[in-house]
């Protein structure tokens, strides 16, 4: 895997995004500048409509900026076509969604192995890697189960295993605890923290809950498409000021 020599996983300079509507262009992100280094655990916060979801989509190579530069682990994404973006998503990014987004008809093993199929990994290696990952998230004994047979917390663990399949440079989690109860949320956040601390995995977490954000080390807050705070995670009272 190509690695930026200076350890910068995400490099964003003067990033703009606007949507074209019938009433004219609507700016969503205005001159965003951000740098995330390898091993960081960043929480992206902000009220709804602040542009944090759009930012997340661009970060995940699901959407492209209108203007500005986004370098992902040494790869400039600005001029890439859909196939190249798909390749970047496959190799460099692992997604964890609020709704888990597992394939309901596939077994847990097949779900985890799916990114490896698109990476062209041979079958045996896919199976070995998927077993190993499920073991790591504590579901080694459920490999043949289907998503509907396990709990929400377990499903999210499978989703995390899937996100790690191709050893990505960046783990993107979009409200990963939004569908879970408090106890399970803490378990999942514990897993993220562990992955970050022990394996040095770079994590970007989008959330609107301070309770969740406090597991991260760094907080980036968006308001109206502008980064209003970039620094250590703040307490609720502090953020409110």
């Amino acid at each position: 895997m190509a690695t930026a020599p200076d350890g910068v996983v995400v490099g964003i300079e003067h990033l703009y995004k606007q949507y074209e509507t019938a009433a004219g262009p609507v700016p969503v992100l205005k001159d965003v500048n951000l740098e995330i280094r390898r091993g960081e655990f960043v929480a992206i916060m902000g009220p709804s409509g602040s542009g944090k979801s759009t930012f997340m989509n661009i970060l995940g190579c699901l959407d492209t900026p209108t203007r500005g530069r986004y370098v992902l682990d040494g790869h400039d994404t600005s001029a890439l076509g859909s196939d190249d973006l798909a390749r970047l998503r496959n190799r460099f990014i692992g997604f964890v969604f609020q709704g888990f987004n597992l394939l309901p008809r596939a077994s847990l093993l097949e779900n985890v192995a799916l990114p490896l199929i698109y990476a062209g990994t041979p079958r045996r290696e896919r199976s070995e890697r998927a077993h190993e990952l499920l073991e790591r998230v504590g579901l080694g004994r459920h490999v043949e189960h289907h998503p509907s047979q396990i709990s929400g917390g377990q499903q999210q663990r499978v989703a995390i295993a899937r996100a790690l399949a191709n050893r990505p440079s960046l783990l993107l989690a979009d409200e990963p605890t939004g569908n879970l109860d408090t106890a399970t949320s803490h378990e999942i956040m514990g897993l993220f923290t562990q992955l970050n601390a022990e394996a040095g995995i770079t994590i970007v977490l989008v959330t609107h809950e301070h309770d969740v954000a406090r597991f991260a080390q760094r907080e980036v807050t968006f308001v109206d498409g502008i980064v209003t705070h970039d620094g250590p995670v703040r307490a609720v009272e502090e953020a409110a000021r």
Partner: protein, 406 residues
């Protein structure tokens, strides 16, 4: 990679078995119909071809024309205007290879306690050449038989079955108009003629015997018809002209007057028959193809529904790295699997139907390899053609929109 996509396609088809089955049914019926219809058409063509081959090649038949007696006009072949001498003269023509003057009539044949009504032909040795008909047991009619008007008979396979059963027939005596005939030989099996008559239901006797002893004509030398074989297929046109000219000259029929004979090109008649069968089988095939296309539209319909239903799944796949071509391949492959699998079942059903049709009815069917290969080719093509649009629709979805789809 292909293996993995194949498994994925198989799984998603298995997830909705009833729907997959119904989609497939369109292809099954389409392919089954194509195979069955082509088998029936092919069978009909085969039967006609056999019949034409059994008729003999490059043949003309010269019939005596109608006669008018006291204002009553008889049908073709009824007037005693053709003679054995006409036949002899025709044989002298360069374009004519062989002639067979014939005197036919329907008579009752008796052997012991059994009797059978059949077509009796008075013929000369030329008949066996012209019809390309072999005697499998015993001897054919010889020149000597004709010269001496001997009472020998050659029986066809149907007559053999009806009168003798399993007994050997050669050397036995049969009675025809109460005249005893010795069975001298047995004809090879010919089957149906192209107009559907059983050619094996016949007895051949020397022409002279027929004229003098069996049919008894007022005009002893006359014959009802003369079969004429041209020297080659390319000489057919010239031969027809020669025959007409010679017979007109012999009768001194003036220019512009209708002659008292008719020359028919049997090969041309057969060609028309063959052409008709061909057109029929093409028509059957075309109708069956329509149902194949309808089956294809069914596949497209279901694939479109499937793409809409699975928008979210497509979004997930794209998020974790599926390229457009991966999604395209997945849906295209599903369409192809459905159509090819439907084709396999359809071929089995079509072949089974063809065999059953042959068993239960008198229709002769013939399943050809090329019709099966054609079905597979068309089924794959239909899968690609009708699967492409839905697959493209899936592949061109925007990842974020697909992910957001509920």
């Amino acid at each position: 990679m292909i293996g993995a996509i194949l498994r994925e396609a198989w799984k998603s088809m298995g997830a909705n078995k009833l729907r997959t089955f119904l989609t497939m049914l369109g292809m099954v019926i389409g392919v089954g119909a194509v195979i069955l219809m082509l088998a029936i058409g092919q069978g009909a063509q085969y039967v006609v071809k056999q019949a034409i081959a059994s008729m003999g090649s490059n043949l003309f038949i010269v019939l005596s024309s109608f006669s008018t007696t006291s204002g009553v006009r008889s049908g073709t072949g009824q007037a005693p205007t053709l003679t054995v001498n006409d036949a002899r003269a025709l044989l002298e023509l360069n374009t004519v290879a062989e002639v067979a003057p014939m005197q036919p009539g329907s008579r009752q044949i008796v052997y012991g306690a059994a009797n059978w009504n059949t077509q009796v032909y008075g013929v000369t040795p030329g008949y066996f050449t012209v019809r390309d008909w072999a005697v499998v047991d015993g001897d054919p009619i010889t020149e000597t038989d004709v010269r001496n008007a001997t009472r020998v008979a050659i029986v066809g396979q149907t007559v053999l079955d009806r009168l003798f059963g399993d007994e050997p027939a050669v050397g036995k005596t049969i009675r025809l108009e109460n005249i005893p005939f010795t069975v001298a030989g047995v004809l090879d099996r010919k089957g149906q003629s192209f107009d559907g008559r059983d050619q094996d239901d016949t007895v051949l006797i020397p022409l002279t015997t027929a004229q003098r002893k069996v049919f008894g004509s007022q005009f002893p030398n006359s014959v009802r018809m003369i079969m004429v074989q041209a020297v080659s297929e390319s000489a057919m046109a010239q031969a027809e002209e020669d025959i007409n000219r010679l017979l007109r000259e012999r009768r001194r029929t003036p220019e512009g007057q209708e002659p008292d004979f008719t020359v028919r090109n049997l090969s041309a008649v057969a060609d028309v028959q063959a052409q008709t069968t061909k057109v029929m089988s093409l028509l059957l095939g075309a109708v069956a193809c329509v149902s194949l296309v309808v089956g294809g539209i069914g596949i497209m319909n279901i694939m479109l529904v499937s793409v809409t239903e699975r928008t979210r799944e497509i979004g997930i796949r794209m998020a974790i790295g599926a390229r457009r071509r991966d999604v395209l391949a997945q849906f295209l492959l599903e369409a192809i699997i459905v159509s090819v699998l439907g084709c396999v079942i359809g071929v089995a059903l079509g072949v089974g139907g063809a065999l059953l049709a042959m068993r239960l009815t008198s229709i002769y069917t013939e399943v050809t390899v090329w019709s099966v290969l054609l079905s597979f080719a068309v089924a794959t093509l239909i899968g690609v053609f009708f699967g492409f649009y839905p697959a493209r629709k899936a592949a061109w979805l925007k990842p974020i929109e697909a992910l957001r789809y509920q």
